[in-house]
Amino acid sequence: MILRKWLTVLLMITFMLCMSMGALSAADGAWDGNGPYVDEIIMPIITDSEARYLALLRGEIDIYPDVNRPSDIRSFAADPRIDLTMTPGLHMFYMGFNLQREPLDDPVLRRAMAHLVDRESLVFSVFDGYVFPLAEAVPESSPFYHRTAHVAEYDPQLAERLLNEAGYVRGEDGIRVDPRTSKPLRTLTLITPTYEESPTSAEVAVRLAQTFQNAGIPVAVVSLEFNTMVERLLRKDPVTGERDFDLFVSGWGLARYPLHLYTLFHSSFDVNGGNNVTGLRDAAYDAAAEKLWRPRTLEQAYEAAAEAQEIWAALQPYIPIYSLTYIDAFRSDRVTGYVEHVGYGAASNPLASPWTALNIRRVDQPEGRGGSIRWLLFDDPGTLNILASYTAFEDQVLGLIYDSLITANPETNEDYPWLATSWVIDTWTTESGEEGSVITYQLAEGVTWHDGVPFTAYDVKFTMDYLKEKKPPNLQAVWQDYSHSIVHDDLTVSVYYNTVSYWHTYATGGFLAEHIWSDVDDYESFQPWREPHPEVEGLTKLIGHGPFVFKEWVPGEYIRLVRNESYWRSQG
């Protein structure tokens, strides 16, 4: 109940933020402009959190995305030169159960434990209130969020009652008795990443263990290196079919669509190395998750997501704890025009949200055009090769260089036509007689790659064919069901998939320039930014169709991008 009130307030904040933005956009088209407005973006690479903090104060950077230390947030909030934005993120941090081990296979015990978790207290005390408590499988920042009555809110009295009624009564030493064995509950192991790697996760884990301990459920925290931890969680003994843990804490960054409800909980992933580490096996849930994975329409997806969340909450394979907020800091005495994108923040995810890059401008420039801004990058991006990119830092740079076919409205997260001005979803019959999706995209006119070569339907076809041939692991979702493409004319292309799914609409990409990538055989070791462009001087092979053009990267120091003079959207 407390939580519900809280969530209502959260909705209100979101609404207010949107309102304020709406007002802005009504006045001067704040996020629909003819950007980009700045001539140059420098991305200083600063790995040390102290140095980052100092850099914003000293004015070495103008944009500090994803500020996550409470002490920094407090200090920035007090500084009149600095403006902070807060956006609920698509993220979930949780404690997971091993559902296939006694005593956690008992849903009553899991339920009671869920009622014991005081999320608000954790959020206030560990995060200083800068993240949002989360009790559902999908955060409220997602349009697929479904409010269900099954959610277990903080209610220690209820937990106590549930436990007692189910026979988990306290023994003499205060430890509860397992009704099935009539012996005291064994000590459960709670696996957490180490303090060094993830201080907040470790902190949360310790506090959870204390909570359960106080309630008579013995829990011991075991902190492991991240990779050891993942290995241990994923390993399902081939002989005994067991996983060696009871509880674990972890967090996921989520996508705009709640596909994690399928990839993390469907019973087909309950195998050695599979992602369904809780070992959830439930026929009804599987059916709902499959519907979510392969919906024909958005409506079906919404329905399936709601159904899955409903069942999920009753099964309680996780205890969700919090969902991150993106807090981005701007030197408002220098820059303006940043756009908060629900789920992605104002400056944290340029790949998912192009809006800030397009609208950011300097306050000291006449008519708000021109000038250079400095946008902090947390670490060196690995390769700047879009096919081999794994890190968020890489996406942060690539997001400025590439555009997608379809993007999202920052306020509602609804589809926003981009390189594809419109698309038609249909079905076809594959060679094996199955039904598959076919999506026909109409591409925007006047789009060129950074070297002036027009971007056409052939690039889309090339991209998809190339991915199908090379099978880069990080883009598996794109190529795994792809069949072929047919180009109708320069700006119209039909993309055929072997299965029917509404999500295929978003899978299609057109980010590989055929005239550059057709020569690339070993895509993994290709370092586009290191190779000079064959024809245009001053460019590298790292070219896209996005608002900024890659110029220079001094590893460990900075990356320099300049405005794309012939950006398709600024031509009116």
Partner: protein, 505 residues
């Protein structure tokens, strides 16, 4: 005195072996305390040792598991003597309803105990309303005299019982010293039975701040308790629909207002409100423990190898000494980093590794001493009398190297302490152990520098320094006493030690 080389040279053994062990000890201490460095150093070490051993008595807090003791990065308590912080809030915990004024007509009061805990509840029953809403107000005035706090937390245990048709509300209001009224919390409509719950109202609740008209990033506590004065806290309980045959009952447990202080303990607190003084004390434990265990292990290894090498001679000597050279030429820190990355960050690993890489000095010293002793008449006599090598080493050689071994043990400790601190500082230390290096790692990771929290940064670093100097003094004093000639025979110049301590980190 140019440096004399080295191995194999016979050194006259001016011994004090005829003196009884008892008087030998007295002789040693007299010599030891003649050196002020030795005396001061030993004093410092003793102070650290007492603090380390007595840690559980000297602080009530667990260094890592007790948090929220004060507001994040609270300053040390003694800083209240600085004019700037004279008014800083100290931790306050106010029981609200003990002395509350009660205002409301037609209520029946009683006491009850609920929740299986010894929580006393005010039972307020109303059953005479004429359909009109009735209300009960618990009002408490709190004098707040300090600078605006960073955080406050209200806890309000309550429960409700009502006949069908009766609806209750509970609400918490705060009237500031300036007379502004803020509604901090309103319950959802309470119908029928609402079991005991503890409502928590936290100033870090960003949504609350927004609801009260502040910015998401504003500090609610310092906005609301902005100035000294009298603050009125009201718990308003309302009932609707009570009549002769329908009553409603509120159970109100003792409400509390907690304001975590900005000043705490001898060294303040860290970012999650854990006591830094406890971390320092337990850090001293870890440091001394790691230092001495490592040094002891290294010295045992070194003595064995040194004695074997010196006594046996020949190819064994050659091999062992070359192995020592090999170990000397491998850089320790990178190896420790790689080990931490691959087989884990356990303190045992650190100790074993450090010991494996620090026995070489001792081995050389002991080897040289053994070489010298081997030619002494009393050893030769023992050999002539048919003593086995083990017997001779045990009876005649080891006792005489004891002083040197002791000195090198003490001198190995600072290196081990610094190495462990460095590893912890880099984030590669044992996560279960409170250490000084980890304090510094946290200080750097969680914003102590940005807050200029020197009381967090300086103590661990300066303690390592002080302890190292003390150990160096003691070690050098012991070393000087127990025969400088042997040290020179072993070829170890005191000065080169500076190198390994000065820049090994």
């Amino acid at each position: 005195m140019p440096d004399q080389p080295l191995a194999g040279q016979k050194v006259p053994w001016r011994h004090w072996t005829n003196v009884s062990p008892f008087s030998r000890g007295r002789w040693f201490w007299r010599a030891f305390f003649r050196s002020w460095q030795g005396a001061v150093g030993l004093g410092i070490i003793a102070v650290f040792a007492v603090l380390a051993v007595g840690a559980p008595l000297l602080t009530p807090y667990h260094p890592l598991h007790d948090y929220d003791l004060a507001t994040t990065m609270a300053r040390p308590a003694w800083m209240r003597y600085f004019p700037e912080y004279r008014n800083s809030p100290v931790t306050q915990d106010v029981a609200l309803w003990q002395e509350a004024e009660v205002d409301g007509d037609g209520w029946i009061f009683g006491q009850s105990i609920a929740g299986g805990e010894s929580l006393t509840f005010i039972r307020a029953v109303h059953d005479r309303g004429g359909g009109e809403p009735v209300r009960l107000v618990l009002q408490r005035e709190v004098q707040y005299d300090h600078a605006p706090p960073h955080t406050f937390v209200f806890t309000l245990p309550y429960a409700f019982q009502g006949d069908p048709g009766v609806v209750g509300w509970a609400r918490l209001e705060l009237e500031t010293a300036r007379g502004q009224l803020f509604e901090l919390w309103t319950s959802a409509p309470l119908r029928e039975d609402v079991p005991l719950r503890v409502q928590r109202i936290d100033s870090r609740d960003r949504a609350l701040a927004v609801r009260l008209g502040f910015n998401f990033f504003d500090n609610l506590a310092s906005q609301l308790l902005a100035e000294p004065g009298i603050y009125t806290i009201r718990l308003v309980l309302e009932l609707e629909g009570v009549s002769e045959d329908r009553s409603g009952t509120f159970f109100v447990g003792e409400g509390r207002l907690r304001i975590p202080g900005d000043l705490h303990g001898p060294l303040g607190v860290d970012h999650v409100g854990s006591d830094l003084w406890s971390q320092w004390l337990y850090g001293a434990r870890t440091s001394l423990w790691v230092g001495f265990v490592t040094a002891f292990t290294a010295v045992v290894i070194g003595t064995c190898i040194g004695v074997i090498s010196g006594y046996q001679g020949g190819w064994v000597d050659e091999l062992l000494m070359r192995i020592a050279d090999v170990m000397l030429s491998i850089p320790v820190l990178p190896v420790m980093i790689v080990v931490a990355a691959t087989i884990g960050k356990h303190m045992g690993n650190v100790i074993i590794l450090l010991a494996l890489f620090s026995w070489m000095g001792t081995a050389r010293v002991v080897r040289a001493a053994t070489l010298a002793l081997r030619e002494q008449t009393f050893v030769e006599a023992a050999r002539a009398a048919g003593g086995t090598p083990f017997y001779i080493v045990w009876k005649h050689i080891l006792p005489h190297t004891l002083g040197l071994v002791l000195a090198s043990l003490v001198l190995l400790v600072p290196g081990a302490i610094i190495a462990e601190a460095t590893l912890s500082f880099l984030g590669l230390g044992d996560p279960q152990m409170p250490t000084w290096g980890r304090m510094l790692h946290n200080a750097r990771s969680f914003g102590a520098f940005a807050e200029l929290a020197w009381w967090w940064i300086l103590p661990p670093g300066l303690s390592i320094t002080l302890l190292s100097i003390a150990l160096l003094w003691v070690g050098n004093t012991v070393d000087d006493i127990f025969n400088q000639r042997l040290r020179k025979a072993a070829g170890e110049r005191k000065d080169t030690r500076w190198l390994s301590y000065g820049s090994s980190s």
